[in-house]
Amino acid sequence: MKVTIKSWTGVATWRWIANDENCGICRMSFESTCPECALPGDDCPLVWGVCSHCFHMHCIVKWLNLQPLNKQCPMCRQSWKFNIH
């Protein structure tokens, strides 16, 4: 007997490759959205800092805008720099 699979339609869930589950700022799951967004994923992406912490982009941008002088990571207080992969 020979079984040939011609095509396979599967189901998968996507997730961010991150070292945490929830955004440290809004406490929502990364796979969910920041409080301001409606659609997850492309429309509400994650960003990583060089300190390896990551947040919803909208959350960290908002946070950084609230910091008058030195922009720090809300988790480790190191100065925040975007880690561009």
């Binding site: 007997m1 020979k2 079984v3 040939t4 699979i5 011609k6 095509s7 396979w8 339609t9 599967g10 189901v11 998968a12 869930t13 996507w14 997730r15 961010w16 490759i17 991150a18 799951s29 796979e31 969910s32 409606a38 659609l39 997850p40 994923g41 492309d42 994650l46 990583w48 992969h85």
Partner: protein
């Protein structure tokens, strides 16, 4: 002495009544005789006494002779149906139809009336004679009743009624029944009130004799005579009125039953009114005036009695008609909108007569009898509910009747556990409920506040709440908004919460999307847009994300397939529905381990995905999906679409033709029981057999398997129909899991707590945690599970942390 004898003789000549009742018309009396008597009386000075004696004598004759004689005609023995004697008039009217010998009663009645009339006439002679005797009317003493206007008639009527036997109205009924038949025949209206004997064409409809011997003319004559006599004695109203009314009511009922029963698609009121005035009223006029017409003094003037009859009967007709409509209201509801004319009719009736309470009662009970029992599909109940809403809306704009009638349906639907599902299905699919149509109309759910303003600005159109409703119902639901809500809201209102419906909608949609897996979501998107208009975006947010996942997946698949690097050395095509887990209902916990070479294919896909979407990866849910496989076995090829589990099972048999169920279970990570169920699918297809218990072998040779070849894809599809989602109770437990940390915290601080306290505390927290609501029962289940898992100890009614 001889003087007195002579005198008495003279007196008797003038007043035969003094010698007892004598129906022979009194002969003419000479003026001389009057002279003689008058003289003697004046000598005696007792004219007044004499008049009084005559008066008394007449009265006693009426009471003791005339009336008993009349009633003797109607002794119980003579009237056939004595049993109806004690029952009410309506029953008697009904029994008229059943009387076997109406014609006999008819003649009997005429005879009796004739006799009575003769007696009456002979007495009536007395009055002018007495006047003549006394000289002039002025001298008549006030005390003599007979000489007052209608004195004798009044006395006769009084005595008659005083001795009225109960069966009499049956006789009168029979009399007029015959008359009615004669009348309807002669006025060529018989067709409208078809009597049972019309089919026998040889018989005259009117008199039941052979057509050649028809005596209708004669009978009509007799009836008219009798009516005239009755009228002259002032008896027609008193003596026959009630029987006549009962008979006509019966006729109206019959007519309504004959013409309106079961026909809802046209209006009947006009036709009924015409019938009433054309047939019944002209018949009544005929009874009261026919005999007069020869004199034709005031032919056009309808007597007052007929007028009062008309008012009474019109009212009765409306009532009967309304009752007949109401008793069929369930069918009307089901036929809506074809039955609008019937509802309009009822509306007119209800304006004239207050039938509200009757309507609600009768409708409630018929609804309960017809749809609110276990034998009826939920879908059918919903259809009935929607139709009832529409029909009753049409009848009563205020919605009060609706509120009262549909309350039991709502209560009942609430108890059925598939109601929500059915409503959601109804909303999204073409079905008998027309809910999808309603949805397409796209009105928003009204907010209470808006219409509150309306009420003030629109005060001129304000209408009071109809009376005759249970005050409790009103208080329970005093807002007019509720009552004027549209059908979708009414349906959603069954459960009282939009959220519940939306959750169910989400679950159903997830099931559908996962079952189809064809990345075609246009219809769903359309439905979702419609629902969004009605229920607002926030509740349907998840659904929106879900549909976006579908379209995104389609794009991603296209992208990955288009990648030329990948297509080489690829075993098979993979498409994937990539879902945002947070927004989908949680999946059930089934699992499936793929063979390595297959898994590699998925890894390739995942790689491609990761390359396409930076920093993101995929978790495969291998259990769900559909696989297009082709199996070459022997000299035949099977092409089929199956679920992944089935595909993996048969794939494993490629390299090893014999598997024990345990081994297969280990390698696929499917529990043995579930595996056995799946294996039976291939057993049915004749590919695998259970050679020894627990051992499954591939059947390479084609023996008697061809019979299974017809096993079509439908069966595979049936397998697919199993929901991939976690059951509602599983989801619920997951929700409660949120509280576990709270519970642990509480018990750490407070050592031990009873369940109601835990529940209370959690409720305080619940407002912070996305407003998850739960009952104490659910909490109890949850805690008991934790006890089973040895995380809690339950003793003495309190929970403690296990140490």
């Amino acid at each position: 002495m001889s003087d007195i004898d002579v005198l008495w003789g003279d007196v008797l000549k003038i007043f035969p009544v003094l010698g007892g009742l004598n129906t022979v018309p009194a002969e003419e009396v000479d003026e001389k005789v009057y002279e003689n008597v008058r003289r003697h009386l004046s000598i005696l000075g007792s004219v007044e006494t004499f008049a009084a004696v005559v008066d008394l004598e007449i009265q006693s004759v009426i009471r003791n002779v005339l009336v008993p004689k009349f009633w003797k005609h109607f002794q119980p023995g003579v009237v056939a149906s004595e049993q109806s004697a004690s029952s009410g008039i309506n029953d008697q009217a009904l029994s008229i139809e059943a009387l076997p010998d109406k014609n006999r009663l008819f003649t009997q009645f005429i005879d009796a009336i004739n006799e009575l009339y003769e007696g009456f006439q002979s007495l009536a002679h007395t009055k002018p004679r007495l006047v003549q005797l006394l000289g002039s009317e002025d001298k008549v003493p006030r005390s003599v009743k007979m000489l007052q206007v209608d004195g004798i008639k009044t006395c006769l009527r009084d005595s008659l009624l005083a001795q009225l036997p109960p069966t009499f109205s049956v006789v009168v009924g029979a009399f007029y029944w015959v008359h009615f038949k004669l009348f309807t025949k002669s006025s060529h209206l018989a067709l409208a009130t078809v009597d049972s004997d019309v089919f026998d064409e040889l018989l005259c409809i009117g008199c039941n004799f052979d057509v050649e011997l028809c005596c209708c003319q004669k009978l009509t004559e007799m009836v008219n005579q009798t009516n005239m006599k009755l009228f002259e004695m002032n008896l027609i109203d008193r003596l026959t009125g009630s029987a006549l009314t009962a008979l006509i009511k019966l006729k109206i009922k019959e007519h309504i039953n004959d013409t309106c029963m079961g026909i809802f698609d046209r209006s009947h009121l006009k036709q009924l009114e015409t019938w009433l005035s054309d047939v019944i009223m002209s018949w009544l006029t005929n009874i009261f005036t026919e005999w007069k017409s020869k004199d034709s003094i005031h032919d056009e003037e309808v007597p007052a009695s007929v007028q009062s009859f008309k008012v009474k009967l019109t009212y009765f007709m409306y009532e009967t008609f309304a009752q007949s409509v109401i008793s069929q209201f369930f069918s009307i509801i089901i036929d809506y909108p074809d039955s609008i004319p019937a509802i309009d009719d009822l509306k007119i009736c209800m304006e004239k007569i207050d039938m509200r309470v009757y309507l609600t009662e009768s409708l409630r009970s018929s609804l309960e009898a017809r749809i609110l029992h276990p034998g009826v599909n939920t879908m059918d109940i919903l259809t009935g509910y929607v139709a009832a809403i529409k029909a009753i809306r049409h009848l009563d704009n205020t919605g009060v009747i609706l509120e009262m009638v549909t309350a039991p349906i709502k209560d009942y639907l609430r108890k059925r556990n598939d109601t929500v599902r059915r409503v959601v299905t109804g909303l999204t699919e073409e079905g008998p409920t027309d809910l999808s149509e309603e949805l397409a109309k796209g009105e928003t759910v009204k907010d209470g506040k808006e219409s509150g303003l309306d009420e003030f600005s629109n005060w001129e159109n304000w209408e009071p709440d109809p009376f005759g409703i249970d005050a409790n119902v009103m208080q329970y639901n005093s807002s007019r908004v509720m009552r004027s809500a549209d059908i979708i809201s009414m349906v959603v209102d069954i459960y009282g919460s939009k959220e519940l419906f939306m959750t169910e909608y989400r679950n159903l949609m997830a099931d559908r999307l996962l079952a189809q897996l064809d990345f075609n979501s246009e219809k769903e998107i359309r439905n979702l847009e419609l629902l969004k208009i009605r229920f607002g975006e926030s509740l349907l947010h998840s659904c929106e994300v879900m549909l976006k996942d579908v379209t995104d997946s389609k794009r991603i698949n296209a992208h990955i397939h288009g990648d030329s690097n990948r297509t080489e050395n690829q075993l098979f095509d993979i498409s994937s529905l990539i879902v945002s887990a947070q927004f989908w209902p949680s999946f059930n916990k089934e699992s499936l381990q793929l063979p390595e070479e297959l898994e590699n294919e998925f890894k390739k896909y995942t790689k491609a995905y990761e390359a396409y979407k930076g920093n993101r990866t995929l978790n495969w849910r291998t259990v769900t999906g559909r696989v297009n496989i082709s199996i070459e076995i022997g000299d035949r090829t099977l092409d089929m679409v199956v679920s992944p589990t089935l595909a993996v099972i048969i794939y494993h048999f490629q390299n090893k033709t014999e598997w024990s169920i345990e081994d297969l279970s280990t390698i696929t990570k499917v529990p043995a029981s579930a595996l056995r169920r799946r294996l039976s699918f291939w057993q049915n297809h004749g590919l695998i057999t259970e050679s020894t218990p627990g051992i499954f072998t591939l059947l390479e040779k084609e023996s008697e398997k061809s019979q299974f070849e017809e096993m079509s894809l439908t069966e595979a599809d049936e397998e697919d129909l199993e929901s991939a989602m976690a059951s509602a109770s599983d989801q619920r437990e997951e929700e409660l899991q949120v509280f576990w940390s709270y519970i642990v915290g509480m018990l750490t601080n407070l050592d031990s707590m009873p369940i109601d306290r835990i529940h209370q505390m959690l409720k305080l927290f619940a407002s912070h945690s996305g407003g998850v609501e739960f009952t104490q029962d659910e909490l109890k289940h949850f805690l008991q599970r934790k006890v089973r898992e040895h995380k809690l100890i339950f003793s003495g009614g309190v929970y403690q942390l296990a140490k």
